[in-house]
């Protein structure tokens, strides 16, 4: 298993948070009302993952070049942790030609074939794709793994169950990661799901299922390391459900009236200051790490803003028909 490096885990969580905090600001800077999603320099819906960094950082710490991740509509934390280029990501978010999809995809469609990273706005669709990656890895005789990520809401989709079934049947090197943030848009888990843990569902398909509580990056790191090692060693698929927290709205512009009193407790549940305290970082260290992340993010925003906007003619390029 990869050695745990607390400072690296912390820095990566901060890097993601600063990226998203900046996207949040830039996104709202030119939208009025906030839900006018077509307006401004960053068009379209925006699903940010603040609070869920431990899941991405704990899992991706064990991945190597050539391993695959399929992420859902809330993809930034996994993309950044998996090594997707921040400039190309930011440019895609701004809809520029230097973006990962030449500005045609936006934030929910970050495709990076070189890093085997993809995501999609159609929830749970990444599960079968991850099984495909895993089948290819297995047939080629490599020790690569595929990681499929989605929310607890997505785990009620047929594609999730079909994928668990096939992965178990074919003993594929895939790790199914469920980020349980208690909400699927405005629907609490208790209103949608007969199982209270997807670890239980894994048991039904004959694969190990583990639930990590408390949004703890080191606990995620250990469990993910064990699951990924198993997959590399040919021991087959497993499922990791991570109880995490969505600190912001489902999408930007979501007033979150449905969350009631929970909204007041969110600051206390932020995993980043909690981890800084747990590993004993000083205020100066925290500030320096944040400043380093900010300068990387500044450069990415500058790169995006300096990049060309697609022309009308570009609409006809890179299409099938």
């Amino acid at each position: 298993m990869t050695e745990l490096n607390q400072l690296d885990l912390y820095k990566e969580m901060v890097r993601i948070r600063q990226f998203e905090a900046r996207v949040l600001n830039e996104y709202h800077a030119d939208k009025s009302p906030a839900w006018d999603i077509g307006a401004g320099l960053i068009p379209g819906e925006m699903h940010l993952s603040a609070g869920q960094e431990p899941a991405a950082v704990g899992v991706c710490a064990h991945l190597k070049k050539g391993d695959a991740i399929t992420a859902p509509h809330r993809p930034h934390h996994f993309a950044l942790s998996h090594g997707v280029d921040m400039n190309a990501m930011m440019a895609e978010i701004y809809g520029r030609t230097t973006g990962l999809c030449k500005g045609k995809g936006g934030h929910m469609h970050l495709f990076d074939p070189e890093n085997h990273f993809s995501c999609s706005g159609i929830i749970a669709q990444g599960y079968p794709v991850a099984c495909g990656h895993a089948m290819a890895f297995k047939r080629k005789g490599t020790d690569h793994v595929a990681v499929a990520v989605a929310g607890e809401g997505a785990a009620n989709q047929g594609a999730f169950h079909e994928s668990l079934n096939l992965a178990a049947l074919w003993n594929l090197p895939v790790v199914f990661v469920i980020e349980d943030n208690d909400w699927a848009i405005s629907v609490p888990r208790s209103a949608s799901t007969a199982n209270t843990s997807n670890a239980d569902r894994a048991a039904g398909y004959g694969m190990p299922g583990v639930r990590v509580e408390n949004n703890d990056v080191e606990a995620v790191f250990e469990a993910a390391g064990a699951a990924i090692d198993r997959a590399r060693a040919g021991e087959g698929p497993s499922l990791l459900e991570i109880h995490t927290v969505r600190l912001w709205g489902h999408f930007e512009g979501d007033a979150q009236a449905y969350r009631g009193a929970e909204l007041e407790t969110l600051d206390e549940r932020d995993p980043i200051p909690a981890y800084a305290a747990a590993i004993g970082l000083s205020d100066d260290q925290v500030a320096a790490i944040k400043a380093e992340a900010d300068s990387e993010v500044d450069a990415a925003v500058r790169f995006a803003l300096d990049s060309p906007v697609p022309t009308a003619d570009d609409a006809l390029l890179h299409v099938f028909a």
Partner: protein, 345 residues
């Protein structure tokens, strides 16, 4: 004054879902299976005259599922079910809170379904209220697998006063670990392990190479977990007034001693480790011993709990929770004819 007709039930929703399913061959116990166990328990409790059950609330649908099931035709004859769900946190604190409230309500018995950790939390709070300890999972030393129907009958007979608690329950041993430097103190029902790792991480202990010292309340040779290491050096049963202290010849830096013995110990489900032992000795009740290690992490009953960097003392105590021996209780019930009688004509 105990209310003989009420019984408390603590079922840990989180047991059998941790990393041991990945690093060993731990089995999964689903929330639905736990609810099913509680249904069987209710039949045993109801049939032996228990009127009311106070059940710990949870966010896994177990307690709510039980209330719902009690309203179905198949729930006829069950005790009434009341959920203790004030201030739920979805953490171990729920077990502590619920146990306190059960004791305050004067329940006659508390039935616990969970692993070593769940039982430890109950043990810290249950005082003189006897417990029935049921294992849900595969990596437990303290609770044992029991059929809840039968365990419910035993609990009901004790709660109703038809079985004398003195005859069928005995106090468990506990280990008290104190770190005067930090003021931290915890109690263990099975083992205290001193690890040379700095990480708490997922909690579970599965790498024997990280263990420097081990203190055991009991050491069954047929047990599973760290206590099995002791079981093969010097078997100690649950009721003997001694414990064990073991220095492992871990791979780490001093104070690891030179190995003198190698034990093949089943330290987890499907996980047998070759463990090198430097020395071991018996622990006497109420005699504090000082750990040789002065920094690292303390694991209580197989869960990494806290870091320390000063002296630690460990003391064996004989005043743990009163545990009902279900086999003994049922044998006594049989000999006393508590569940037999003439055919009504």
């Amino acid at each position: 004054m105990k209310d003989a007709r009420a019984v408390g039930v603590v079922a840990n929703p989180a047991s059998a879902r941790d990393i041991r399913r990945l690093v060993a061959h731990g089995s999964s116990v689903t929330a639905h299976q736990k609810l099913n166990q509680l249904r069987r328990l209710m039949v045993g409790l109801g049939r032996t005259g228990v009127q009311q059950v106070l059940v710990m609330g949870d966010r896994s649908g177990i307690a709510i599922g039980l209330v719902e099931a009690s309203g179905r035709p198949s729930g006829a004859g069950w005790p009434s079910v009341e959920i203790i769900d004030e201030d739920l946190t979805n953490t171990a604190a729920d077990t502590v809170n619920a146990t306190r409230r059960m004791v305050a309500a004067g329940v006659g018995v508390i039935v616990v379904l969970g692993g070593d950790g769940t039982h430890r939390l109950v043990a810290d709070e249950c005082g003189l209220t006897p417990i029935v300890a049921i294992s849900t999972g595969t990596n437990n030393a303290f609770p044992i697998p029991l059929e809840p129907t039968v365990a419910g009958m035993a609990a009901g007979l004790v709660a109703g006063g038809r079985l004398d608690v003195e005859r069928v329950a005995r106090p468990a041993k506990m280990l008290e670990v104190r770190c005067p430097g930090s003021g931290r103190s915890e109690r263990a029902l099975v083992d205290v392990a001193i690890l040379n790792t700095e990480r708490i991480g997922s909690g579970a202990v599965w790498e024997p190479g990280t263990v420097e010292e081990l203190f055991l309340c009991f050491a069954p040779p047929d047990g599973i977990g760290l206590s099995a290491i002791g079981g093969h050096l010097q078997p100690v049963d649950r009721h003997e007034p001694v414990g064990l202290a073991i220095r492992l010849a871990a791979t780490g830096p001093p104070p690891s001693g030179a190995p003198t013995q190698r034990v093949a110990a089943p330290i987890g489900p499907g996980l047998i480790a070759e463990v090198d032992v430097a020395s071991w000795s018996k622990l006497a009740v109420d005699q504090p011993v000082t750990a040789a290690t002065t920094s690292g992490t303390v694991a209580i009953d197989g869960e990494r709990m806290f870091r320390f960097d000063s002296e630690l003392t460990v003391t064996l105590r004989a005043d743990g929770p009163l545990v009902i021996d279900v086999a003994e209780a049922m044998e006594f019930a049989a000999r006393s004819g508590l569940l037999t009688g003439p055919v009504a004509t």
